[in-house]
Symmetry: C2
Subunit: 691 residues, 2 copies
């Protein structure tokens, strides 16, 4: 110092001011007056005085540090507030956060450069390089190998009139880039603090004013923004600390906190992009699916023969009345195919024929005209529902149709219609047809055990929720929406009934509604007149829902009430589907199926049927027969089938008993023989044979 | 104070110590010794001394505040670090954040109670309530109406041995809940600071030790965790500050920061759940789609008649050799249907027949045996590809087949096969068949303008990327994977060729490859021998790719080279599809279509065709004919069609000219007549008529 100032230091008393481990300052007294050196006493005075000075210094320092930490936590809180507001893209997220924290950054300007994240070129852009026609890129690259390319600069001007400038695809000579510092940071990932930027030799910052404001660069602090995968995503650069001093380590600390937080928060913007992609893929798949399941014009023509009969090409040229007439002409006579009967069987009718039967039923309950259902839409919807059922062994379109037909029969022949409005009956019939749409021939437990996407989506009543969602999706397409001419409130009623009716087919919920249903039947039995009973039920939407839910069960299980020649065949289909699931459990899940699904125990079918009738079905049909005597045919059918299954079960038991006794005898005989022969091995192998 | 202590205060000198607006302390001197009151001088000494004391106090306070802010920002940084690590569920996210910040919380325990977020009951759980059989819930509810139900408590024990206890479905008398404080916080959303918990009258905290550690509750600070939608999601409760003092406002400040951050961060966990749902829905839709597009066993049997001919039910029972034989038996003779000809036309063959022709071509290039393609899989794949094409006007299965057939013909008849391995030829033929799968009859620009999900997913070559993705999805199903017996490297080659070949059909990329292709043709023309040319091409995979990409274009446009009777019909199909898109643009997008897609300008078709031939097609077929003279028939066909289109265009021009002249004459005549009659309106209306 003496050399610089010309002053001559003769003697010197110095002491540091320390806070924790940090030296805050060094205080020096120079050249003792009237003496050649400082005395012991001087030292004492000096150090006593310093106690006082040091506390003031410490207070100063702590206040500064408090200010730093306080700005830091404000920056974090405000960034977090913005970052969690919504999912959005990188640009918007950075901008929202950087804008809200501007007052805490204490600098005149800052800019953010966003880096292109693409790693690989398209093949057709690589060809000219591979052919040697174009020079390969030799410029700076990020540590993970991307070409350093700032596709956007956002420039925050806080001095003078606050302003934000967005520069898309900035030129290389833009004042923020021309020094090469952001590129250097993007290449190396270092934090760079240029205390005297204009004097720097390595980076040549713009010397004069950068724009019309006259503002010049003095100090620069530049940091990379790095995501959690350690990719450099952008570069943040801060210019000219507000108080004119260079940026210090505390500024580095604060800005590093900010850039680090922003880097981490890219999880959100990545998620935003992923989510959009997923959503688009989902939409694409759903649109393609609709394209494949929706009945084609040709299929519609196979039912609604307008072209053939009216000799027109486009359906729009026909009047609705004409269409109704030509459609009805080809629909089967409901009496001759026994659509009104509980004993109805689908066996004699083709699957295509069942579509026509299904359409017929809507005319029979008089809803087509009343609710202005265009016959083209009704036809398309019914055909599309049919196509929605898979070709599985039991839960296929035939089953879907049967449930619809039984719903119809319960309403009409069973006279349950009297509790419901026409609109409700319309919804119930439609829901019954849809109730198992897209069934996969495996049950809810299988979905769970195989953690299928369905099971991951729905927590309970897995398949039922899927049938419901699918049914609702169909109605969202106006060309399939048989309820298109209802008002909003009516449509909501329909959707609610769809929900209750279809979810109710989950047999796991059956036991929840049993007693409630029974109480309603009990109460109605006590009523003096039919009117009283109707009133008792209809004043309370809950009772109507419970009856409807139980009707769905009655429909779903109705195969068990059919004439024996039908029931015996259908039971085998159900069993076959179960056995197929059992096979899957063995092969795919590597689990032992329950006896019901184990084809090695197929002989136990009659016994299982008797059990199913006793523990589940009898209640349903007994109660419904008590509720409405018109439904008794179902109970009779059930009871008859019980007799059949029981006799088969008994037969099997008897056979087993005989076999057992024979085995026992043989064993005894063998034992005797073994005893006679003195050998033991034979006995063992024979026991094995019997198992 | 005197009353409490028995001391007698006679006189008093007091002064506050102030920092900013905050009173940090009040210092008092009591009872002046040897005087009845404090003097002016006393006041002076007192205040001078206090200057010193106050600085020490301020330092103390600032240090404390620094400590608070520093803990606060640490808590934020660490929480953010954890929250942005990955997307996860609420429990895990809370746990990760709360665990990392434990040292900054300065308390002996804290617990987090997670609230059930379900707002509505299932209908079957509401029935008993609506029927009056079960009492409705009358307990505490959150402000948004949920029943207060802590489904899980996580308990962090920091005193003694650190421990974390997770209590799923905690009983109401669990020590964290028994006081009712968390429930109160969940109900009201207040921050509650109980300075002396055991003495509290409103909440009765457990008095003695809460567990075997002997730990007792002294002070409690409880805060709600609120998400950005303002729903209370959980309650965080902090117990016993480490220094034994009650929690103060600064503790509230810190813990509020933490709970607020956690609450905001729930955006991530909500997103996690949404994303899982989306993914599941996407998977479900894709599985359903596959179920609908994949060829059914019946469809396979219609091509591969094993059941009919071998009299077996299951294909597994047949030997591959047998299957090959019976399949080949029914495949068309390639010569008789002209599969080797550039002039091949699909018109005489049914769409079902084209599936057989497609299969035949794979046998013709000898890849079925060589690459061990099971014929069942080949049949299923080819049939599924056919089903993947929609019934649109031009870009349907017939177009898909034609492109495959032309690829075959270019390879075989055009002798381009010599540059490619059998595996490459296999991939090229398969890619050609798939190249427009699931085309919607509208072009890329239409996807963009209608912002279809496809356009939102893919940034460029929208439809081509979709055809490619769909083709690859099919191969992911092993029962459709004709490349199933290739090794990993071979399979990757195939996928790469699919990518290049299918994306190359984007005509927007055509101009990028033109010159590169021409240079290859130029170079080959200069070669002395065929071997040299083959070597020149085959040593460089890029050249092979460029030729292949141009082959795809040649295939895609090949209709323009067909005999006039075919070309004239196909051109009309293409035009019709364009006009249909034009109609959509008018009706759906409410935009005026370009002339090519405007059916009101259908007369301009010949002129457009001539332009298309001149500016796009001629180059392709000229260069290919120069490259391989065997391909010249394509060029001849093209040139012939140009003559036809040109003459039609000229005819149209001539007709237009005549009309124009007539109109001119009429106009002149009318003008004259108008002049004669003196009226001006007529003239106007006639001009209109001519437009």
């Amino acid at each position: 110092m003496d050399k610089q100032t010309g002053y001559v230091t003769k003697n010197l008393l110095a002491t540091p001011i320390v806070m924790g481990k940090e030296v805050l300052a060094v205080i020096m007294a120079l050249n003792k007056v009237n003496a050649s050196e400082f005395s012991k006493q001087d030292e004492e005075v000096f150090s006593k005085y310093l106690n006082f000075v040091s506390i003031i210094l410490k207070l100063h320092h702590t206040t500064y540090m408090y200010n730093i930490e306080s700005r830091r936590s404000q920056i974090l809180m405000w960034s977090a507030n913005k970052v969690f507001e919504e999912l959005t893209d990188v640009e918007r997220q950075f901008h929202k956060a950087l804008y809200t924290v501007r007052t805490y950054l204490n600098c005149e300007r800052y800019s953010i450069g966003l880096l292109d994240m693409t790693k690989e070129k398209e093949f057709y852009d690589e060809w000219p390089i591979k052919l040697g026609e174009v020079e390969p890129y030799k410029g700076p690259k990020t540590p993970d190998g991307r070409e350093v390319n700032f596709y956007k600069i956002i420039d925050y001007i806080l001095h003078g009139k606050e302003e934000i400038k967005v520069i898309p695809t900035p030129p290389a000579d833009h004042w923020t880039l021309v020094s090469g510092l952001p590129t250097y940071v993007a290449e190396n990932g270092f934090i760079c603090n240029m205390m005297n930027a204009p004097a720097d030799e390595y980076f040549t910052f713009q010397k004069g004013p950068v724009d019309e404001t006259g503002w010049v660069i003095k100090n620069v602090l530049s940091l990379p923004i790095v995501n959690k995968k350690e990719d450099i995503v952008g570069v943040a650069t801060f210019y000219n600390r507000k108080d004119g001093k260079p940026f210090d380590e505390h500024d580095e600390y604060i800005t590093e906190t900010l850039t680090q937080f922003l880097g981490w928060s890219l999880l959100n913007t990545d998620t935003y992009e992923k989510m959009n992609k997923l959503e688009n893929r989902k939409d694409i798949a759903q649109e393609m699916l609709m394209n494949h399941t929706k009945a084609t014009p040709e299929e519609i023509k196979s039912i609604l023969k307008f072209q053939e009969k009216l000799n027109v090409d486009v359906i729009d040229e026909c009047e609705e009345k004409q269409l109704v007439a030509i459609l009805k002409e080809d629909l089967p006579d409901p009496r001759s195919v026994e659509l009104y009967e509980f004993r109805f069987s689908d066996f004699p009718i083709t699957e295509h024929g069942l579509i026509k039967c299904g359409i017929r039923l809507f005319f029979e309950i008089n809803v087509v005209e009343k609710f202005k259902v265009p016959v083209e839409v009704l036809t398309r919807w019914m055909y599309t529902v049919r196509k929605g059922y898979r070709a599985v062994t039991y839960h296929n379109w035939r089953h879907g149709f049967n449930v619809g037909q039984t719903m119809f029969t319960l309403l009409m022949t069973g006279r349950l219609k009297k509790y419901y409005t026409d609109l409700e009956a319309f919804a119930m019939l439609a829901a019954a047809f849809c109730h198992d749409i897209d069934h996969r021939g495996t049950n809810n437990l299988y979905q769970m055990k195989s953690t299928s996407p369905l099971a991951r989506l729905h927590g309970s009543s897995i398949l039922e929720r899927h049938h419901l969602e699918y049914s609702k999706t169909l109605l969202q397409d106006e060309s399939l929406n048989i309820f298109q001419n209802l008002n909003k409130r009516q449509f909501e009623t329909v959707i609610h009934l769809f929900e209750v009716a279809i979810i109710a087919t989950d047999l796991a919920l059956y036991f929840k509604k049993r007693t409630m249903f029974q109480k309603i039947v009990d109460a109605c039995e006590q009523m003096q007149t039919e009117e009283d009973a109707i009133k008792y039920v209809t004043v309370d939407p809950t009772k109507k829902e419970i009856i409807m839910a139980m009707m769905m069960t009655a429909c779903d299980l109705s195969a068990i009430t059919k004439p024996w020649e039908v029931q015996s065949q259908v039971a085998l289909m159900v069993a076959n589907e179960f056995w197929e699931q059992g096979d899957l459990e063995r092969t795919v899940l590597q689990q032992q199926p329950i006896p019901m699904m184990d084809r090695n125990k197929k002989d136990e079918l009659p016994k299982l049927q008797v059990g199913f009738i006793d523990f589940v079905c009898t209640f349903v049909y007994k109660e419904f027969s008590r509720f409405h005597k018109e439904i008794t045919p179902m109970l009779s059918g059930l009871q008859n089938n019980r007799v059949e299954w029981k006799s088969l079960a008994d037969e099997y038991d008897a056979k087993m008993k005989v076999l057992e006794e024979e085995a026992k005898k043989q064993e005894e005989g063998a034992e005797k023989a073994a005893e006679d022969a003195g050998g033991g091995d034979d006995k063992k192998s024979k026991t094995c044979l019997m198992l």
